[in-house]
């Protein structure tokens, strides 16, 4: 029984370490990143993962040792301790230090994604409207100004140019939603009553269709609130915009 219990915890340790090492080859890990945020976010993810791994192994080894050492019947009397001041200092100071390391390590990435100074210059390409349970993107029309009469809308598909910074405004019509494109390593809540600027840049060599999902439980239809970010090369993007503008001014004969 003692042997079995020890083996069980040992197996847990081995399985835990193996699972995160092997997950990538099973396709059960983060999808490959395609945006300029990708390398930073993934480096932070790996940093934290290795920290967690180290402490997982440490605590598991201590646990296995204790299971093995103390499951044996011992007739001697238990002895009482008030704790160790030194040990308590240690297990407070080390995690605090590690938190500081993480806090400083992530500052650059956070500033790059969220600080207004890091945002690309120029007007936003679109307003992304989240509503129950629909993504809709409002683009400026021929006048290039958002909020005017010639703005056109695209349901479901957020078409953007690849290889250049894309800034847009995130808005919500009703409740809190979250704009999330896992492959961009980008996630931003949409708050009713707020206009939140967001930016990203799709790698120039990775145009394509990327899944957009709502990441904040927003009601009964949350599960079907899907969209798509279509990153197109600049020329194709311009052609798409021109086509949409032409369709917007359709007189109903040619559609």
């Amino acid at each position: 029984m003692r042997f079995l219990a020890t083996l069980l915890f040992l197996a847990l340790l081995v399985f835990g370490v193996w699972s995160f090492q092997a997950a990538e080859s099973f396709g059960a890990w983060l999808p490959p990143h395609v945006s300029s945020f990708g390398p930073d976010i993934d480096a932070l993810f790996k940093l934290i993962l290795w920290m967690v791994t180290f402490f997982f192994i440490l605590t598991e080894v201590v646990l296995i040792y204790c299971v093995w050492r103390f499951s044996k019947k011992d007739p001697s009397k238990a002895h009482f301790t008030h704790g160790s001041h030194k040990l308590e200092m240690l297990w407070t100071a080390v995690p605090a230090g590690l938190l500081l390391v993480i806090a400083f390590a992530q500052m650059g990435a956070w500033a790059n994604i969220r600080f207004p100074s890091a945002f690309p210059d120029g007007e936003p390409v679109a307003v992304a409207w989240a509503s129950q349970f629909d993504w809709r993107f409002q683009y400026p029309g021929a006048d290039g100004v958002l909020g005017t009469m010639d703005d056109f809308e695209s349901a479901h598909d957020f078409v953007v140019p690849a290889g250049e910074p894309v800034k847009f405004i995130l808005r919500s019509r009703d409740v809190i939603h979250s704009f999330s494109v896992p492959q961009f390593r980008l996630k931003q809540d949409a708050m009713p009553g707020m206009a939140i600027p967001v930016w990203f840049q799709v790698d120039e060599d990775r145009p394509g269709d990327y899944e957009l999902i709502c990441m904040e439980l927003c009601g009964w239809g949350h599960y079907k609130m899907a969209g798509k970010v279509r990153a197109l090369p600049r020329a194709e993007y311009d052609a798409w915009v021109a086509d949409q503008q032409a369709q917007f001014m359709s007189n109903g004969i040619e559609e």
């Binding site: 349970f133 629909d134 100004v145 958002l146 005017t148 009469m149 917007f248 007189n251 109903g252 004969i253």
Partner: protein
């Protein structure tokens, strides 16, 4: 824990797991075996003295004409056979723009969508790895619906085929997937997975989640669809239904279904059309039966043909505009504002509320708070208006209801939420033909006392552009409330608005 209780716990866990597995499995739930009659038809028949036997006759006739949920399909009449017309054949009239068919452009989009969707499958076929096709299909969402199609196709290759056979089979199989168009049964299955929970088994808007929605889902059975591009309250074209699926109906619980391929959406359009025609036939049959006191085969076929007649020839009723759309000049916008507030012309203000253009040239108003659309709530005992205990203002209730009997309120035009689309031609069509089943009138078809059109082309566009200008956001992103940007000189309207009765739509009650 003793051995017995351990075993009991084990059993409980196994039971719970198998229950979860059963209820969460993506196996489609067994289809209802038959369509049912609508409650209103049953009542109509029973009021006329008919009993279960006659109800069974109607159900039987409908099943003959439209099939069952598991095997839906139209009855093909003898005339159709002679004409070579068979609505059950997938995309039965490619190139022929008759009702119910897909156009060349739509067919091209279907093929393009299929190439993307079946890319993995087609790659396996081209590589000659036929055993891998089944797995490639299983990896595609809803690919399991095509497993049988592939099995039959593969079986046709036969044992030990020659190299020529294999080459021909490759081309054939590739084409099958590229030109895949779902059968009625496949579309009915997709309908059960995606639509039934609101729209119901017969399209009667009586699915289990329907009652939680506001506005309520559409009841197809009367053949009335709110948003079409047609005049004369015609039945929708397939493009109208397709647009509703692809774009959704904005700001309602009807989301867009762009994540499905074009072929699947066209299949759903076919099935919705079948349900709608079935519902119309059901209501007409019941009415004819009540007047003729019996059901005859001739009557059934005549009703069937009547309904098909209603669902054809829509293309002639398409609302279009000859020539390019006029630019929204300031003069045109001012003309539009006049028409909007003119009781003898647009008369829009009576429901949508006062609107105008301020000294900065910014349009304002049309907040869906017109006096015709709301009435005071009166105390039953005294007949006095009821005041809200919270605000002290007179309580209001909506006065209008739609053809389905639901209370509705006018659109707040400042929100810029247009359910049929926000293109100028979309708004033009709404003002021209109204909204089917609602009090929104067809102004474009209205005539004045001398029989001339009420509004000229120029007037129509003035109104369209003015309505569109109401939702302009002068700070670009619309964060600043419009009433702070544009002038608001109607204090009385404010009190009217904040006190009004249950609003149909969320956006109206945000003020």
């Amino acid at each position: 824990m003793n051995c017995k209780s351990q075993r009991r716990l084990g059993t409980a866990i196994v039971c719970a797991a198998s229950f979860l597995g059963w209820s969460c499995s993506d196996q489609p739930h067994a289809a209802a075996r038959h369509y049912k009659l609508s409650e209103s038809v049953v009542k109509e028949l029973e009021d006329a003295g008919f009993r279960a036997r006659e109800e069974g006759q109607v159900l039987g006739a409908l099943e003959m004409l439209f099939g069952t949920p598991a095997a839906p399909g139209y009855l093909v009449t003898n005339e159709w056979l002679d004409d070579g017309f068979n609505p059950n054949w997938p995309n039965y009239a490619v190139g022929d723009n008759g009702s119910g068919s897909v156009t060349d452009a739509e067919f091209a989009a279907i093929v393009e969508g299929n190439r993307q969707r079946f890319a993995g499958v087609i790659a396996e076929i081209e590589a000659g790895n036929f055993d891998g096709v089944e797995k490639a299909l299983a990896d595609i969402p809803r690919g399991n619906l095509l497993a049988k199609l592939w099995a039959d196709l593969y079986a046709s290759l036969g044992e030990e085929p020659s190299a020529d056979d294999v080459a021909a089979f490759k081309d054939d199989a590739k084409l099958t997937f590229e030109e895949y168009y779902p059968s009625f049964a496949d579309s009915a299955e997709l309908y059960r997975q995606q639509c039934l929970h609101c729209h119901g088994n017969e399209g009667g808007a009586d699915g289990p989640t329907a009652r939680f929605l506001n506005p309520l889902p559409r009841d197809y059975r009367r053949g009335i669809f709110k948003y079409t591009a047609l005049k004369d309250k015609a039945r929708p074209r397939r493009e109208d239904l397709f647009n509703t699926l692809a774009q959704g109906i904005y700001s309602t619980a009807m989301p867009n279904f762009r994540r499905f391929s074009d072929a699947e959406l066209h299949g759903l359009v076919d099935y919705v059309q079948l349900l709608s025609m079935r519902g119309e036939t059901e209501m007409l049959l019941a009415a004819n039966m009540v007047s003729d006191e019996a059901l005859t085969t001739d009557m059934v076929l005549e009703t069937y043909n009547d309904v098909w007649g209603r669902w054809s020839g829509q293309d002639e009723k398409l609302i279009t505009f000859d020539g390019p759309i006029p630019a929204p000049t300031p003069e045109l916008l001012h003309r539009g504002a006049e028409l909007f507030n003119d009781p003898n012309k647009g008369n829009c203000f009576s429901c949508h509320g006062q609107a105008g253009i301020d000294e900065h040239g910014h349009s304002w108003g049309g907040r869906g708070n017109g006096s015709a659309a709301f009435a005071d709530v009166l105390d039953e005992a005294t007949g006095e208006p009821v005041r809200s205990p919270w605000t002290g203002m007179i309580e209001k209730k909506a006065t209008y209801s739609d053809d389905w009997g639901h209370t509705i309120v006018p659109r707040n035009l400042e929100e810029g939420v247009f359910r049929f689309g926000r293109r100028p031609i979309d708004i033009y069509r709404r003002i021209y033909a109204g909204i089917n089943g609602t009090p929104m009138p067809a102004i474009g078809e209205s005539k004045d006392a001398e029989g001339n059109p009420l509004l000229s082309d120029e007037d129509m566009w003035a109104l369209v552009h003015f309505v569109r200008s109401l939702s302009e956001k002068h700070d670009g992103i619309g964060l600043l409330p419009q009433r702070l940007v544009a002038r608001d000189d109607s204090a009385s309207e404010h009190s009217e608005h904040s006190g009004h009765a249950p609003a149909e739509h969320g956006e109206e009650s945000t003020h």
